[in-house]
Symmetry: D3
Subunit: 263 residues, 6 copies
């Protein structure tokens, strides 16, 4: 009954796999996965996030206007999460890092996050701190692999994941592993079998948290507080400034590249 | 399809309301609520928790043996949570404080917890710290009301809740309110209407988290890590010591006082 | 000898005062102040930041290409600071909050930040934490005044600043006051006289830090580390993707509204 | 003149050594060591603590009734410490972890705790945090040895202790070592000689702190604050509920296994 | 049997009361109280501490040479504590703030420190943080009274102490009160009676901790670790530099003003 | 136009190099470097700091009386920094550790400090914490080299610096390196070339911060807050006590050993 939009905030054309299998949704819920027709092909650099951010946030607003119940941001940097919760009046917005950490926190004492390159760690570490969960972080571990290489040689990637997971478990005291990139899709189950600890796929975590938050919103009225950081901008002010005119395309959905599901 | 046991770890006879309305469960799931036939009538004192703890943890073990999918601990002190996750081989265990905080963390920047008496704060504050979320805590606010008085004069209790919530919001910067006692059942919706921020009923939060964790466990195999603090005690060791004999009753279910649902 | 670009990342047309008086620069240095010809007129909402961010970061890149020695971001949310340090190969980038806090840290034991509305606090608090200086923060105090109202009735604004400063000093233990908005320009000197503690104007702090960092870079080679979070995106990758084409205008400087100084 | 009860909260029959040599007490003080006649033989699992906790806390209450001046909990998990300080009206209650850490804090900059197995670390780490001393913790180091094995091959155990201590000192910066299990009794002196840093035997630390707290209570009236977490449960309430009847044996002292000293 | 030197590191002539009554020592132990014949008459300013520090640290060295078992620093700023533990080869050194905090930590969940003037707070707060116990600090409260005024009108001082203690307990959640100045001597017992929580006299706490640490050193060899911050300077180096000659008087004991006890 | 006094707080006779090359000052500013004619030859031990501290703080007071605009403390322990800011009425006082850390904080996500011996770490770590920047500290790394050996075999010292820097970067995640001793003068440039990250020479950082703070003071009136920890002692009180007489030499400048610049 609920409609969820999964946004890979980058150019996805040519990609044939989906980060989240719609079969993993609750019965009755539907998942639409989109990418963009312009922008970068991965998001390792903040500059790339910068370029994409307005398309992402405007996509979140457009999703609410089109009646989606939730928008899920498909990047472990979680960029646009707080902005999305501000712009959305009532739609659920989730992102992989927050979702994974709030889940990992109840599955063990300390978690480690496995990333591709050390470049990513500062922004992600800042997010762990902002989410308030730094004391539960055992470590970051690195694959020494850029995003585009994750699926180049999957056997090698898996080997590195296992090695990084072992270091996290044995040297850093991790009890739970979080895969710190949505490009890790497809690996968690094999790693879980080899490492014998929960291994969180962050895109799945974000989609499932979205379903849960939709239900809590609908049943109990629990949705982001609008008296502080998530207070939405006043529509009259935006209209008065003709804000929408300044940035084109006027209809951001023209940029959507629908990969799975239906609009 | 999933069966959840809600445990009020105290003597409940004579109580006619349920802390969690079974109608709030996902379609197909069932909730059984129990209390105990021995022990204290409220749990403000650690000594009372102490007496009840073995019955609670053995109840968790018994619930798993009887095929429940989750056990929910019905006390905001969350006592027995880590012990329960240790003894359970695969069943989900949740508790109100952890569930509420992990939820509140995604709904706003800071949350406040409203408790009955300052006596409760140290143990609850320790839990906030253990869960790693102290940086998200705006404050504790107090009703100056013991548990037995929560439902003595509900209009007065509501008035105090609203006043405490206002202090939290205006003086302490809270954006989200958590009701820090499962005896707060019944109040959240009115408070939410008056305070205009999300007001979390912690018993509901714990039950809904239980449903979610059951689904995540069944779909993805994500359940508490067994390589650290939640490693279960070895059955042969317990058998060799005749541990079960030392403490009676041998069958803890003889102490259960079923309030709602079916065993 | 050094050229500094001060960027007010919003539409400034009609504004006749400058946030930073060029007379406050070191002898020989020059300051150019710009705003944008499109976008919001204030930045209280994250959505407004979002829209402006690409213009801001591309402006930083353009400034480096045009030979500026530093770019200063004119908004206390400091948005674009880390992104700017990433995209800049060697140009200095500063922002008001970071500059003020690093200065305040050496002037007293604890500082308070005076903001306009509580809406601003979560993002600013996150920044204090990210900059590592939360233990030096005495409090946030609020004027209950939106940015557009700062200069509507300056006597009233001053009165509120003094009252907020007194609360910070007397109740919260602040020894230093930071004015948490670049729209506070013009107030610090009077407040300093009345409050008898240092009162930091954050735009001035950011410009003066920029001058200092230029000198340190030129003398000693000290500039942002490029091995982690500030690693710049690879030019060949961006060229291969025709990234510049995706977003227009191709030449961001066409959006610049030069208020003071010379390009 | 003061009487101290040392409680090994497990079945000790057959054990011939005492964790604390009565000769280490202040002249005139007496030490009685007891174990229990039912329960587990070690306490590595929280479930074992759970079973024993009511006997432990009721033992603390019984000790006060019998005129003991202090009860010392003989397990480094410190379980029952806060519960004991709540139930005791005026008797001193101490436990090994808290005692060792408060001592270690004045002997050097950072301390490391050597435990048997990683299973123990989460609960012990939580205690370090609750006691407020996490910033003084250099690390946990592990022997990879269960409690029952500590005295199986003492030369091997000593060898592992020295290796773990060296890692703590050389890699983690520890200046002080704490032996994180009361089963470590007998090792501290040899380790101290080899490691050349203070090595705290936690059972001794707890007994000596008990003596000190007795003296401070008697001289200056300094004993646990009764206005917060340590507020005792009201006797009329417990009597009204017939709480004592619910749990047997009515007289917990029937379970005591006196190993040393006199009742 | 043990000899303790209590050092009031200022000019005490004309003072007729002792901060620590020798009757409060363990039977057999002796206390000698000294002040200095030069220097300031109170220590509110860091400059005053500065002038006195060498006399204090050299006094500690002289005390060890004369066979004292412990030196107690009689100022709540604890200046000279780490320096004293460095220069002492084996003598115990304690100071009021550290002693009080390590004691308060076991008596309740949070403590407040009552100081004379806000001027004192930054250095004392830094010490709380260095000792690792900031998470246990409820607040500082201020008497608005300089040290020389503490005993000018003792009824007024007591009235202010009670008011400050009430604020700490009721507003800040303190369960324990620490009197943050050794000039508070004489007040703790009356305050304890009125506030109904433990009220720590810091000079007494320091002397009693000294006695305890002497015993632990003598029984178990537990004394400050000498492999890190407390490593003593090498005597040959000091001799080679004729360090002693540079500063006079050569024999610091010529500056001692013995108030109580015997050298 | 501004005059800066660089104080090496130890006996420097025989030393022929200056820690700070006057050519590194802003045009028009002058640097005078002094040492002392009495005291230790290095400052690894707190006792040595103790002896020198009054000469240092009185030198700061004398420098202000002689019209210097700033005093820079030439030791990475930063001892005398807070005392100096208290005694100085309006003169700028800086020290290497604070200056380096406030600079490093804007150059990367985490910094490491390279020290000579582990002995130094506790006091320096305490300073990092006091300055509020612990969350930005990646690690301390050690050369295993005492101060006097830094320039004994400079090739070997450089080799150790490079090795320590590599460990910091690769194992600890440092993006910036701080050389934690003013005796490191001369090394930073070569290390920077080899390590490819900013390497901060702390003496240079302190002198440059002094110049900046002079300018900010003169332009904007920003100087240390005098309402808290830096409140200066009252001159009448000092005069009334004849404080100056108690300690000789009355004129501390008689102890100055001028190495470079002019008085």
């Amino acid at each position: 009954m609920s409609r969820i939009l999964y946004i890979s905030p980058l150019v996805v054309h040519g990609r044939t796999f989906l980060e989240v299998d719609p079969a993993e949704l609750r019965s009755g819920n539907t998942l639409t996965s989109i990418g963009f027709t312009r922008g970068p092909r991965h998001l390792e650099y903040h500059y790339y996030e910068t370029l994409v951010l307005p398309d992402l946030v405007r996509t979140i607003a457009a999703a609410e206007a089109r009646g989606f119940d939730a928008a899920v941001i498909g990047c472990f940097y979680d960029f646009g999460l707080h902005e999305g919760r501000e712009i959305a009046e009532n739609m659920v917005v989730t992102a992989p890092c927050e979702s994974s950490l709030l889940l990992a926190a109840s599955l063990g004492h300390r978690f480690s996050i496995i990333v591709g390159r050390r470049k990513w760690i500062p922004q992600m570490h800042d997010n762990v701190v902002r989410y308030g969960l730094e004391s539960r972080l055992a470590s970051f571990q690195t694959l020494d692999l850029g995003v585009p290489a994750y699926h180049a040689d999957e056997a090698e990637t898996e080997r590195r994941f296992v090695a990084a997971g072992r270091r996290a478990i044995e040297q850093d005291g991790a009890e739970v592993i979080v895969l710190g990139c949505t490009a890790s899709a497809g690996f968690y189950r094999k790693l879980q079998a080899q490492l014998c600890v929960p291994v969180i796929d962050s895109a799945l975590a974000a989609v499932k948290q979205a379903e849960q938050l939709i239900e809590l919103r609908d049943r109990f009225g629990w949705s982001p507080s609008k008296i502080g950081g998530f207070e939405s901008p006043p529509k009259p002010e935006m209209a008065g400034w003709n804000l929408a005119d300044g940035y084109e395309p006027a209809d951001v959905t023209s940029l959507w590249d629908v990969v799975g599901g239906a609009l």
